[in-house]
């Protein structure tokens, strides 16, 4: 077999695998545009020939989508904001200073990162309910920030260490205060790291299911993943309306997908650097 032909065959294989991999995503979006009557047929429709928006209208009809959207946005903004501040301060401490207790702190951060929420949710439920914060933005956010902060500290640590301290020193020689040097010199260089960490925190908070399921039992305080699950269950009590269910899934997924595609270069390099190279 000559080299050309072999390369072509590998390319075909790559494209076939790409199509298989993306198929569930395609199927979600495609089904969401197909009318309920067409989906009732036992022969699947592979392309929405007569696209309809009625599924989307049906999915948001009772208004619970908007309240879940509000809840998700509230929690996500809280988590991203505090997580970035806390992680940034801690990252500066461990990459710019040598101090007593530094090593214990680094070990604690690494160990905590491994603790699964799936093994802690009972205690977290008990704690949050005992202070009356079930169904509130604050209760869930505290747990989310604690879950996300360790990885974020680790990721930012690499970025802070990448900015040479000499630069800061030079600026201080030129008359800037330590704080001023930091804000003018180091901070702008950290922007990519902050973006990557912020996106990581955003995705975690936006998509999280387990903790939300336990800490937000009231229907009025559901986040989008909980809303979607409730929507599927409500639909299943009748004959599941797959068109509407897929429209609901699309509504939850598309913002994330778009966001993810925009920042992916930065995110994957940041994640890979954070997870693989430290």
């Amino acid at each position: 077999m000559n080299r050309r032909l072999r390369t072509a065959l590998w390319s075909v294989l790559a494209i076939v695998i790409a199509l298989v991999w993306v198929f569930p995503v395609y199927w979600m979006v495609s089904s969401s545009f197909i009318s309920t009557a067409t989906l009732q047929s036992f022969i699947p429709t592979f392309f929405p020939v007569n696209p309809t928006f009625s599924n989307f209208a049906g999915a948001v009809a009772d208004g619970s989508f908007y309240s879940a959207l509000g809840m998700s946005v509230g929690i996500t903004l809280t988590v991203v904001f505090f997580c970035l501040i806390f992680a940034f301060l801690a990252a500066v401490a461990i990459s710019r200073f040598r101090f007593r207790g530094r090593k214990s702190f680094v070990i604690a951060v690494l160990v905590v990162q491994m603790l699964p929420a799936e093994g802690l949710f009972i205690a977290q439920y008990k704690m949050v309910s005992s202070v009356g914060l079930l169904n509130s933005v604050i209760g869930v956010s505290v747990i989310y920030i604690a879950a996300v902060v360790p990885f974020t500290i680790w990721m930012l640590r690499g970025f802070v260490a990448g900015v040479p301290a000499d630069l800061e020193e030079a600026a201080m020689m030129d008359g800037l205060s330590r704080f001023g040097a930091f804000m003018r010199i180091t901070f702008p260089l950290l922007a990519p790291g902050l973006v990557a960490s912020g996106v990581y925190a955003f995705l975690q908070a936006w998509n999280e299911f387990t903790v939300a399921l336990v800490l937000l039992p009231a229907e009025a305080s559901q986040t989008l993943p909980l809303w979607l699950r409730g929507f599927v269950q409500a639909s299943a009590t009748r004959e599941t309306d797959w068109g509407q269910v897929m429209a609901a899934s699309t509504l939850v997924a598309v913002p994330v997908i778009i966001f993810f595609l925009i920042v992916q270069g930065r995110l994957t390099s940041g994640l890979v650097a954070g997870a693989v190279k430290g």
Binding site: V22, L110, T210, W242, F259, F260
Partner: protein, 304 residues
């Protein structure tokens, strides 16, 4: 650099102040729950305690109950099997796809990468919903396509009705979601492997497998080791996927892994004492698996 470091070592207040917020939030969100869980695992903490009766210290009673409960060991064994099988399939598929990415020209590679990114970015609940629709008993496209193969009767086959097909499906979904991370990481590692060395080996007559075994693999081994560990940890704690498949199929105990088992102990049985003891078992297994990873990161921190 050394003078700066020396000066900073003496000013010890600042770094401590900087880590205070992170420590406080970690103690609140993780530290307190872990301690509470350890204490509760030694207490009788059931329905009566939910309604205000003070919990009583029972020593190792919860652990003894668990150790003698064959149901728990079945769940542990099932979880470990699920975790190892899924993690290894994910790693194998992810590595093969990374090799494929390295093999093809730019356009097919980009197509493959975008498709992986799309799968990676799907929120887990949305992904589960789609997969349940794909495998729907009556109108699912998978049964429809399989049924078209001559001699195969998949008409109205219910994937969620036997534990084996249930977990096979769960595993396939987890693999689908996790492979992109593995592929991108291993691909990043592969780009470090020098073209010249590979070509020289090829000229010397090394087969494709041997080139992978002796040249590529040793170079990407650190990446693969870490990705495998992360995958093992994530697959051990898998909860959302199993929970949502149970929503669509059966909630019986035969379909439980550790995550859903703890959830049921805590919510339906309201037995926080036993649930805490199982949770600690999960934590212990996780830390045992991840200890190597943490050690390697620590080494790197010291080198930095």
């Amino acid at each position: 650099m050394s003078t700066i470091a020396a000066r900073r070592r003496t000013r010890s207040r600042t770094p401590l102040l900087l880590i205070v917020p992170a420590i406080v939030i970690l103690l609140l969100g993780m530290g307190y729950p872990v301690i509470w869980q350890v204490m509760t695992s030694f207490q009788e903490y059931g329905l009566a305690q939910q309604f205000g009766k003070p919990p009583t210290f029972v020593g190792l009673a919860n652990y003894i109950t668990l150790a003698t409960n064959p149901e728990l060991w079945l769940v542990v064994a099932r979880s470990l099997a699920f975790c190892f099988i899924t993690a290894f399939i994910t790693l194998a598929v992810g590595t093969l796809l990374a090799l494929l990415m390295a093999r093809v020209t730019r356009t097919p590679r980009l197509i493959l990468q975008i498709s992986m990114l799309l799968a990676w970015s799907m929120p887990v609940v949305a992904a589960m919903t789609v997969w349940i629709w794909l495998f729907d008993r009556r109108r699912g496209v998978v049964n429809y396509l399989l049924d078209m193969i001559p001699g195969v009767d998949m008409n109205r086959f219910d994937w969620l009705s036997t534990p084996f097909t249930f977990f096979a499906l769960a595993s396939a979904i987890v693999v689908w979601m996790s492979v992109p991370f593995v592929s991108f990481s291993v691909y990043a590692g592969l780009t470090q492997v020098s073209e010249e060395v590979l070509e020289a080996a090829q000229l010397d007559g090394a087969s494709g497998f041997n080139r992978f075994r002796y040249i590529i693999f040793p170079l990407v081994r650190p990446v693969i080791a870490i990705v495998l560990l992360l995958q093992l940890i994530w697959d051990l704690r898998v909860f959302t996927q199993i929970k949502l498949l149970q929503d669509a199929g059966s909630k019986s105990g035969d379909y439980d892994l550790l995550g859903t088992y703890i959830y049921k102990l805590g919510t339906s049985a309201q037995d926080f004492g036993t649930a805490s003891a199982v949770s600690l078992l999960v934590l212990a297994i996780t830390i045992a698996i991840s200890w190597f990873y943490i050690r390697s990161l620590l080494k790197e921190d010291e080198a930095a």
